[in-house]
């Protein structure tokens, strides 16, 4: 009997993550800003989904996450590589309540901008610039049930 109970508890422990899992989803958008004239005849900037984009254009990438489960999600980490052919726009990453760090080595290591360095062809080390960033990471301590979070950044098409 004890063996049966132990086995049940073990199974429950193994299955625990699934049983208590907060259902966190993430979606991504690529937006461009265009100037439009509103109903009042005034010019305003509107964000629209990017479909065809010219080199040199700055895009806004928005990642939205939602905890649709019943438990709070802890240590929510969102990773976003800077898309190929694009250059991160310095200082553009945002995310309320998040700790934002960057990588210059393909996402292996992350640090705050002032701690990031790169080496040139001769091996000389220098402070990393926004153009050197390969990945962005947002760390959110907690995402409560039903709570939605948004993080994002801007990058320019090379």
């Amino acid at each position: 009997m004890n063996r049966i109970i132990s086995s049940f508890l073990l199974l429950a422990l193994v299955a625990l993550p699934g049983l208590v899992a907060a259902e966190v989803e993430i979606s991504s958008q690529a937006l461009i800003e265009v100037e439009v004239v509103n109903e009042k005849g005034e010019k305003e900037i509107q964000q629209i989904q990017a479909t065809k984009v010219l080199p040199g254009t700055e895009l806004l990438f928005v990642n939205s996450c939602l905890n649709s489960g019943e438990k709070a999600a802890d240590d929510v980490a969102i990773h976003n590589p800077v898309p190929e052919h694009m250059t991160y726009v310095g200082g553009s990453a945002y995310g309320k309540g998040t700790i934002i760090t960057f990588s210059v080595d393909g996402g292996q290591n992350f640090a705050s901008p002032e701690k990031l360095t790169v080496k040139d062809a001769e091996g000389k080390e220098s402070p990393a610039e926004a153009k050197d960033y390969t990945h962005i990471r947002w760390l959110l301590k907690k995402l409560a049930p039903g709570e939605q979070g948004e993080v994002g950044f801007r990058a320019r098409l090379n």
Binding site: I26, T51, K71, H79, L157
Partner: protein, 348 residues
């Protein structure tokens, strides 16, 4: 507009690119048209200290867009001003490039952009005889203004361009006269006849032509046209000559005054001035000894001359002095070059 040459020129341009391929440092070209850019974010989290994504992080949808086709004509003048002398041939050098992104893709599909190259005259202070040439990687080849060129988008902005030059044979004219020429590149459609209509950056259907404003009048930004200008400057020698006289001995009254009497010695001073920019070569000055005077032996002085001599009268030829200069340099800065000749005669 002529279109017959364009396919040939496409190949020639590539040859030019190859020829120049090792020059300069790489400058990234814009992302190729048609490229699909995709962004996917991933997410991990814990519940109660347990990682909820132990195998793979949760991935977002892919936010996808396509790189639009960009055509960007860029004309640069390598030479601001080019100076030259009468009778010489000088060159105004330009580079014409397509800094767009419609270059040949990886499948070998050729999407080239047609540029009409036009040479327009600017202010012409003098009129050199001009011809137009482009470099095909081996030779300079003549073309006519208004001809259509196929110029694929550059892979390397620093090295991929078509070299064009305006050759000018200088004629006679005043020193420092200028002749300005504009090289104008106009983006045209595949047929090579109609200027490509510029559309806005938010236009997702059409090719976008983006360019800076150029030097040619009316060349605004984003008008499918780009231009640059360069100027020929004519340099010539500009010689002037003047002559003065003074009594140095035997005059009546105070020496140096204007009483000219028999037996008086008169000194002539001839001043040669080159106020041009160019050296005057093989300059010869002849001056006849005036009637009723006699040249004072050995009185001829001519600084920096290559020869100076008194030539006695012979037959009907009167006596004279002759001074030659192998060259008289042009001005230095704003200071003209001066040569002085002096000789004396005695009044009979």
């Amino acid at each position: 507009m002529k279109t017959a040459r364009r396919n040939i020129l496409y190949g020639l341009f590539l040859a030019a690119v190859l020829a120049l391929g090792s020059v300069g440092t790489a400058a990234a070209a814009p992302t190729r048209a048609g490229e699909t850019i995709s962004n996917t974010a991933t997410l991990t989290y814990e519940v109660g200290g347990v990682n909820q994504t132990p195998d793979d992080p949760i991935a977002s949808n892919a936010a996808v867009f396509v790189v639009d086709r960009l055509v960007k004509p860029v004309v640069t003048a390598d030479t601001g001003t080019v100076t030259g002398n009468n009778g010489t041939t000088q060159y105004l050098n330009f580079k014409v490039a397509n800094h767009g992104n419609d270059r040949v893709d990886t499948t070998g599909t050729e999407e080239t952009t047609k540029f009409v190259l036009t040479v327009a005259e600017g202010t012409l202070g003098f009129t050199p005889s001009v011809t137009y040439e482009y470099f095909n990687g081996t030779d300079w080849v003549a073309f006519t203004s208004g001809e259509v060129f196929s110029i694929p988008a550059a892979e390397n902005l620093a090295t991929d361009y078509l070299q064009v030059r305006i050759a000018g044979i200088f004629g006679v004219g005043a020193n420092d006269e200028r002749a300005t020429y504009h090289l104008v590149a106009t983006v045209v459609d595949e047929g090579g006849t109609n200027k490509l209509e510029t559309t806005t950056a938010s236009d997702t259907e059409n090719v976008i032509a983006i360019d800076e404003s150029g030097s040619y009048e009316g060349d605004d930004a984003a008008d499918s046209v780009h231009s640059a200008s360069s100027t020929f400057v004519l340099q010539s020698a500009s010689l002037s000559i003047s002559k003065t006289q003074i009594i140095t001995a035997g005059g009546y009254g105070t020496e140096g005054t204007s009483y000219y009497l028999p037996g008086a010695i008169v000194e002539y001073t001839i001043t040669l001035t080159n106020s041009g920019s160019t050296t005057a070569d093989s300059v010869e000055v002849n001056d006849v000894i005036p009637d009723y005077t006699t040249y004072v032996s050995d009185s001829l002085e001519a600084t920096a001359s290559s020869a100076a001599q008194f030539i006695a009268a012979a037959g009907t030829d009167p006596a004279k002095i002759r001074v030659t200069y192998a060259s008289i340099p042009g001005k230095t800065g704003e200071v003209s070059t001066v040569r002085t000749i002096k000789f004396k005669v005695e009044i009979d």
